[in-house]
């Protein structure tokens, strides 16, 4: 097939709609859900036909995706009555799963993901500084407090994820909220590998408060900067973590 050259701008129009195959997208989505703990160990997945309906793909595509998950040991399929596909969280839990995923990224890809996440968080925070009501601020402060008092790594992770979601909601933007959730699944899980200890937690709480304070001061510029810095710090920490692992 000859591809007509339409000039640079229109090249974007005629590029593939989605670079990954449908089955890769399905297996990625399910892997993310397991990594985030949304699909806990031993949970039964819906049947192939139901999954196909949910994702809007063919059952062949679902079957391909499930066989990838099976090969990675993330699901187990039992036949017969009471059979089906069941989640198997790897030994060492979701952290192990996230480490596996981390190995699939180059440092430049991680940096790039961090840049996008910073852009989304920054834009949300700046809009939240313009649009938060007193009630929104109360809620942001409460979630920041929950993060500050959380001690278990898992509770810290959840509070941090919740904080990001609240900021996007305070921005009054469903699209930013959806991007936030998508990036949390894709990147947030990785960021948390390098987090959870006390020193990083302190840094996390401090940066959280900086975002809330600038939103409370109705200062969009400061809010954007604080939110971007927060993601940049986490990304740098993750890249350091990855480098240290490679040295070993």
């Amino acid at each position: 097939m000859a591809v007509q050259f339409y000039g640079r701008a229109s090249a974007a129009v005629f590029s593939p709609l989605e670079s990954k195959s449908r089955s890769e997208l399905v297996s990625r989505r399910l892997t993310d859900a397991i990594a985030l703990g949304l699909l806990p160990d031993a949970e039964q997945l819906p049947g192939e036909t139901d999954l196909a309906g949910i994702f809007g793909v063919s059952t062949v595509t679902v079957r391909e995706a499930l066989s990838v998950l099976r090969a990675e040991g993330l699901i187990e399929t039992r036949r017969g009555r009471g059979g089906g596909s069941f989640v198997r969280t790897p030994e060492g839990g979701v952290v192990e799963l996230a480490r596996r995923r981390l190995d699939g990224f180059s440092l430049s890809e991680l940096r790039d993901l961090g840049d996008v996440y910073a852009a989304i968080s920054g834009a949300s925070a700046a809009l939240a500084a313009r649009r938060s009501s007193a009630e929104d601020l109360d809620r942001l402060r409460r979630v920041a407090d929950t993060l500050a008092t959380a001690t278990a790594p898992d509770a810290r992770r959840r509070a941090d994820a919740h904080f990001h979601v609240e900021v996007a909601a305070a921005a009054q933007s469903p699209q930013l909220y959806h991007e936030e959730v998508r990036l949390q699944a894709e990147f947030g899980t990785l960021l948390w590998i390098a987090f959870g200890d006390d020193s990083s937690h302190e840094q996390m709480v401090r940066s959280c408060r900086a975002v809330v304070d600038s939103i409370a001061n109705r200062d969009p510029r400061a809010a954007r900067e604080a939110a971007e810095q927060r993601v940049a710090d986490s990304t740098a920490r993750l890249i350091d973590y990855r480098l240290n692992r490679d040295r070993r």
Binding site: P40, R130, R131, S133, E135, R139, R142, V165, Q172, P174
Partner: protein, 235 residues
């Protein structure tokens, strides 16, 4: 400063009352359906709320009706078999009516803690109906939503709220003809000063009307019995 009589403001007010009235009327009907069931029981259970589905199912299944979700949310601790419970139904993207499944275990990942959410708290504490939003309903439908809720009492005690959701874009569709017909810049704002809809590109849905003391005082007309008003943007 009150907004004086004007046919433009009247038209906008009427459009607001139509769309809000529709949702609140459904909430009232839900309240009326659960009240007798709860009054008759000293220790009610989830099964006492079956009337809700029978009532809201046909409304939600009818695509000509603006509501995309509706139901009853039990006061915390009311039901014997579920301390937190939402008897709530929503229209999915394919137009099918689905029960909202939330986790009623406070330690569970999917736990839906509504005890701090305005559509529950405000009617409980004020005893009045409330309009929440526009807000991103990330706990439930993930849509940009307005929630209309009304307190329900049975046997002299607060037993929960009945309510209905309408998508912001639907409310906007309903308000725009009146707003566009107006000769001045008008906005419909909620109790927080947040704009539901306006006929000005500089004051869009979701924005807060400036609360800066230096900004000009704007002429406002409150809408009876609702935390909503029509504001003259004056520019």
């Amino acid at each position: 400063m009150t907004l004086h009589d004007s046919p433009d403001v009247d038209r906008v007010t009427l459009a607001v009352l139509e769309v809000v009235g529709h949702a609140l009327e459904l909430a009232d009907r839900i309240a009326a359906a659960v009240q007798p069931a709860l009054e008759a029981r000293p220790a009610p259970r989830r099964s006492d709320l079956t009337g809700v589905e029978a009532l809201v199912g046909p409304v939600l299944a009818d695509l000509d009706q603006p509501e995309q979700g509706a139901g009853f949310v039990a006061a915390v601790g009311l039901l014997e078999d579920a301390p937190w419970w939402l008897e709530w139904f929503a229209r999915d993207p394919d137009g099918r009516v689905q029960r909202l499944v939330t986790h009623s275990d406070p330690d569970g990942i999917g736990f839906y803690d509504y005890e701090s959410l305005p559509w529950y708290v405000v009617p409980r504490d004020s005893g009045h109906r409330h309009v929440t939003g526009p807000y991103v309903d990330y706990l439930c439908t993930e849509e940009y939503t307005l929630t209309f809720s009304t307190p329900v009492h049975a046997g002299g005690r607060f037993v929960g709220v009945a309510g209905a959701d309408i998508a912001v874009k639907h409310v906007e569709e309903h308000l725009l003809p009146a707003l566009c017909a107006a000769g001045t810049r008008l906005a419909v704002v909620n109790g927080d000063g947040r704009i539901l809809s306006s006929n000005s590109g500089r004051h869009v849905c979701g924005d807060l009307l400036e609360t800066d003391p230096a900004s000009p005082v704007r002429a406002t007309r409150a809408i009876d019995g609702l935390p909503l008003s029509v504001v003259d943007l004056g520019d």
